[in-house]
Amino acid sequence: MRNRLKEEIVISGVGCSRFGDLLETPGLKGLSLQEVTANAVREALDDAGLSGQDLDAVYVGNAMVHSSQLPGTYSQLSKWIGAELKSGVHFDAQCSTTNVGAALAAMSIASGVYDTVLVVGFETTRTKVKGFSPYEREALQHKETWLWTDMAVNQAYGVPQGYDIFSTYNGLVALGYCRKYGLSIEDYDKGMFELCRTRRLHGSMNPKANIQQTMEDKASELGFSSSYEMWQSDEVNPFVAWPSRLMSLVTIADGASAMVLTRADIARANKSQPVQLKGFGISYRDLPWYDEDPTLWDFDRRSATQAMEMADIKATDINYLHTHDCSHISGICTAEMIGYLPSGKGLAAARDGELRYDGKRPMSTHGGRHAFGHAWAASAGSDTYEAVLQMRGMAGKRQIPKRPEISVIHTHGYAMIGTTIVLGGV
C-alpha cells in the first residue's frame, strides 16, 4: 500500500440530525426515515453551498436493514435529496460507516474520476417499520436490536457459541486494563463514573444529543444524595459485564448524518470553512479481536498508524480526539494506544477533568456514544460533524476554548473494523 492521496481532499459540508427516537424525540417524531436523512443531507449541502444536482456521486450507508427496510438507498433516497442520475453505492462498515464512506469518497475524487461526493449514514436502532406500512413505525425490542446487530459478528463460531458484546467489548477489556496497570476494581469503577459524568456534561450542552441530562440532574431527579451514590446503585446502574456497569455503555438511537467531500482546489468558494481530510486508516479483524492482552487491539493500531502516516502527524499534534466509546474502557485503551493519553492514565485524566471540552485533552465533546447516542451507520458522521464544528469554532457552549487544528476521529465498526481519520485546517 502506498497510503498517499494524490490530491488534497476536503470535507466542505456536514450535517447531522438529532439522535433519539423516531416515535418520540422532538425533531424526529412524525418524520419518515427518508425525511430525517434528507434533513441531515440538506444541512450538509447548505453548509457546502450546493444542491443535490451539484454532486457527482452519493454513497449511502445503513447497517441494520432489518429495522430500516431501506436497501438500494442510492435510488430510494434520490428524490428526497434532489440527486437522481448520479453515481452511487450503498455501503456499510457498521458503526464506522460514515467515516469509511469519507475514505471511499476521498479516494474516488483523488483518483481523478469524481469531483464532489456526498456521504450519508442513517440508522434506526430503536424503531422499525410497522407491518407493511410505508410510514408507520413501532418500537424495536432491545433483544431484536441486539440479535440483528450481532449478525455482523462471526455467525459460524462467535454468536452461536455465546458471544456477547458486553463481555467481549467491555468486561474483559476492563479486567485486562486493571491487571495491566495494577488498578483496583474500585478505582476502575470511580474512573468510569468520572468518564460518564464528563460525557453527560457534554451531552447536556448539545441540543442534538440523545441524553441531555447531566449525571447530577439525573441523581437529584431520582432522589440520590450524590451522583456517585446513583452510579453505585445496582438498580439504576447494574453491572452488565462485571466490573463494567450499564452507564459505561452506549445508548441506542435513531439518527442520520451526512458530509460533502470535494477537491480542495474547487472548495475555495465554499459557503463555510472546509476542513481537510488529511488521512485515514482502516483495518478489520474477526474474533478474537485481541490476543492475550485485551487492551491491545492490533487492527486499531494499524488503522491509526495508517491515518497518521498519511496525514504526516504525530500524536502530540492532536488537539481533539474522539475514540469509539460504545464501551468506555475500550475508548480509553484506544486513546492511550494513539498516544493522546499516557498509558494507564486515562481514567486519572477523566477524574482530573482533562477530557472535558475545557480540559487539556478534550475528547468526545458531543457527548460520545453514551450521551450523544449511537445510531450505528450514522454515528461516525456525528463524530466528524462535531470535530468540524469544533475546528470552525461553532460548537456553542461546549466549544473547546482554543479551536483544534488537528482532530482525530476513531471508530469501531462491528465486528470489528477500526477506522481512523485525521482532519486539519485548509
Binding site: R18, S51, G82, P207
Partner: protein, 141 residues
Amino acid sequence: MDTTVTSTSQSAIELYYKGLEEGKLKARRCKDCGEHTFPPTGCCAHCGGWSLDWVDLSGKGTLLFATHNISPACHPRFEPIAPYVYGHICLDEGIIVQAIVQGVKATPEDLNQLFQRGQTPVEADILRMDDLPVLAFRIIR
C-alpha cells in the same frame, strides 16, 4: 451553521396517503423551477430546491401501455387482487406514473385489445386495500 434541531413536522408520506384516503392526489410544486414532484417529497426532484408548495393534481391522464402481473403477487398487500393490470400513465400535468389499472381483465386477449386501441384516457380511482389506500386508475370509456 445551524446547530439547532430541525423543527418537527408531519411526514410527506403520511400526508400523501391521508390525501388518497380523501380521494386527493397530493403533490409538491417547486417555488424555484415550478416543476411538480409527485409523489411528494421535501425536495424538488428537478432542481434540488427545498422550497415547495403543496398542490392537488387533477387525477386525469393518458394510459400509454398496460400489462399484467403474476398471481400470487410479489407483495402480500396485493394477493387479494392478483393478477392485476398495471399501467404506464402520463398525467395531464406531464408526470409519469405507473399504477394499477382497474376495469380491464388481466388476460392476454383484453390486454391485446387495449394495446391495439392505443393511448387511452384514464382517471384516478383510489383502491382501498385492507391497510392502505392505493393510487389506481380507471379507463374512461
